[in-house]
């Protein structure tokens, strides 16, 4: 959550930029009516619409997905005009990764960064309550929940963080044009590398049984692909071909097809995945897909010493090799 002062400052600079014609529109989050604890992506094009923009611990969607190739939200720009966007830590890494692969023209963007206080998993909050939520507010340490049956509850915020936010080391947005003042509460962090090492020490058969029992629930709805900021083949995705070769992939019927689909998705992302966790968030069957991406992130970091999305120049490891490798040293 943002303090009133920062929110007013943020809206003021966006309004000024829209009025002066510096930007054609601004992509941010807005609250959704009748859906407490949810926000959605929104493009403000007039100063009045800017008053709808918010940023709080429920702003979970990764906006850089909308600037890639998949869904292009940028309207037509006049010469010298830019398009504004607000990013938190994980969004900024995905934006940088797409800039490094020339999928986004960084010169057309005016990026405002925030220091992310961590997001709240609203489904986790809902699962612990008897009734549905009517209204939810966050004061930094406590969640004040008002329920439909009239009861009220105060929940400790640290129990309801999204797991991906607890392991995220990049709270502050990287390489932005303007960084909003840091007045948000700090989030707890845990060492995910240590956790990953202890996970990888388990026997392979145990890990295999767990992940396959989870993946067998997959219905191949492709929500993980649609939510992924790194997947940018907009119309050329093999899964969208109207006539799939029948024995090659059968949608949602056999485990072999499910595993092949996930292999295609995660092999394409194997050296570019920034571990933003959007696939696990989008999954309607709550499959822990973050287990797969975390192993890939660990592999990329330990083998090639590369963290995707930390630079807008670096090539990804699968597009490179070193001279020492050729000489067999």
């Amino acid at each position: 959550m943002m303090t009133e002062k920062t929110l007013a400052y943020f809206r003021k600079i966006v309004k000024e930029a829209i009025k002066s014609g510096k930007i054609a529109g601004f992509l941010g989050w807005r609250e959704v009516a009748d859906m407490p604890g949810k926000t959605r992506a929104f493009v403000a094009t007039t100063p009045e619409e800017v008053d709808l923009l918010v940023f709080n611990s429920f702003s979970r969607e990764n906006l850089s997905r909308l600037l890639g190739g998949k869904t292009f939200y940028i309207p037509e720009l006049k010469k010298g005009q830019k398009f504004g966007v607000m990013v938190k830590g994980c969004d900024s890494r995905n934006l940088l990764a797409n800039v490094a692969e020339n999928k986004v023209d960084r010169d057309n963007l005016w990026v405002i960064g925030v220091k992310c206080p961590g997001t709240i998993d609203i489904d986790l909050v809902r699962s612990g309550l008897d009734s549905d939520i009517k209204n939810i507010t966050d004061d930094g340490t406590t969640l004040h929940v008002e329920m439909l049956d009239g009861k009220k509850a105060d929940l400790v915020k640290s129990d309801y963080y999204d797991p991906r936010c607890l392991r995220c080391p990049y709270t502050s947005a990287l390489e932005v044009d303007e960084l909003l003042p840091d007045d948000m509460p700090k989030k707890p962090t845990k060492n995910w590398e240590k956790w990953m090492e202890s996970y990888l020490q388990k026997p392979f058969e145990e890990r295999r049984a767990y992940i396959i029992s989870q993946l067998s629930r997959c219905t191949m709805c492709f929500a993980c692909r649609d939510a992924c900021p790194g997947c940018y083949c907009n119309t050329n995705c093999i899964m969208d071909y109207p006539k799939l070769p029948e024995p090659y992939l059968q949608k949602g019927t056999s485990l072999a097809s499910i595993l092949t689909y996930h292999f295609i998705h995660y092999f394409h992302l194997s050296d570019r995945c920034t571990n933003c966790g959007e696939c696990a968030r989008a999954c309607p069957e709550s499959i822990p897909l973050n287990l797969i991406t975390e192993q890939l992130g660990y592999m990329t970091k330990t083998t090639w010493d590369f963290e995707p999305g930390t630079s807008d120049k670096a090539k990804t490891p699968l597009a490179l090799y070193k001279v020492e490798e050729v000489l067999g040293r």
């Binding site: 392979f204 890990r207 295999r208 049984a209 992940i211 396959i212 029992s213 993946l215 067998s216 629930r217 090659y248 019927t253 056999s254 485990l255 072999a256 499910i258 595993l259 092949t260 996930h262 292999f263 295609i264 995660y266 092999f267 194997s270 050296d271 287990l291 797969i292 192993q295 890939l296 592999m299 083998t303 490891p317 699968l318 597009a319 490179l320 090799y321 490798e325 050729v326 000489l327 067999g328």
Partner: protein, 135 residues
């Protein structure tokens, strides 16, 4: 709902080889020695999409061997170096998805040692034996 029993393993080995690394008399000798092994010719191992290899693994092929040119001697300049990294990434994804990564291997021809591929095929057969795969 599909279950873990839907992934049977058959006693079948496929070698994807570079057309420059394995050809002529060498290829015929290998085919005579291992009549049950399938040999698939590629222009370059750097052009193999690992999805093809993974698809074969989950459809029941026991093991996949990718056989490329020697280090520093690729017919297409640097295709084998990309293949090496790509197969490593494919193994990592396969492990994360619950498919044994040791069933997919990448070996390179050695100009001083003509037994590399024979030894690798024998090792894969022993691995399938130890996994309890029946004929």
């Amino acid at each position: 709902m599909p279950s873990i029993e839907d992934l049977p393993i058959k006693r079948k080995i496929i070698v994807f080889h570079c057309e420059s690394a394995l050809k002529g008399k060498d290829l015929e000798n290998h085919k005579d020695k291992f009549p049950e092994v399938g040999f698939v010719k590629l222009s370059c191992t750097g052009r193999l999409n690992p999805v093809v290899a993974f698809k074969a693994l989950v459809e029941g092929v026991g093991a996949i061997i990718i056989y490329g040119c020697p280090l520093n001697d690729c017919h297409n300049f640097d295709g084998n170096m990309f293949a090496k990294r790509r197969v490593f990434a494919a193994q990592s994804v396969a492990e994360a998805l619950g498919v044994d990564p040791e069933r997919l291997s990448y070996v390179q021809k050695d100009p001083l040692d003509y037994g590399v591929l024979t030894r690798e095929i024998s090792a894969m057969k022993r691995k399938l034996d130890s996994m309890g795969v029946e004929a």
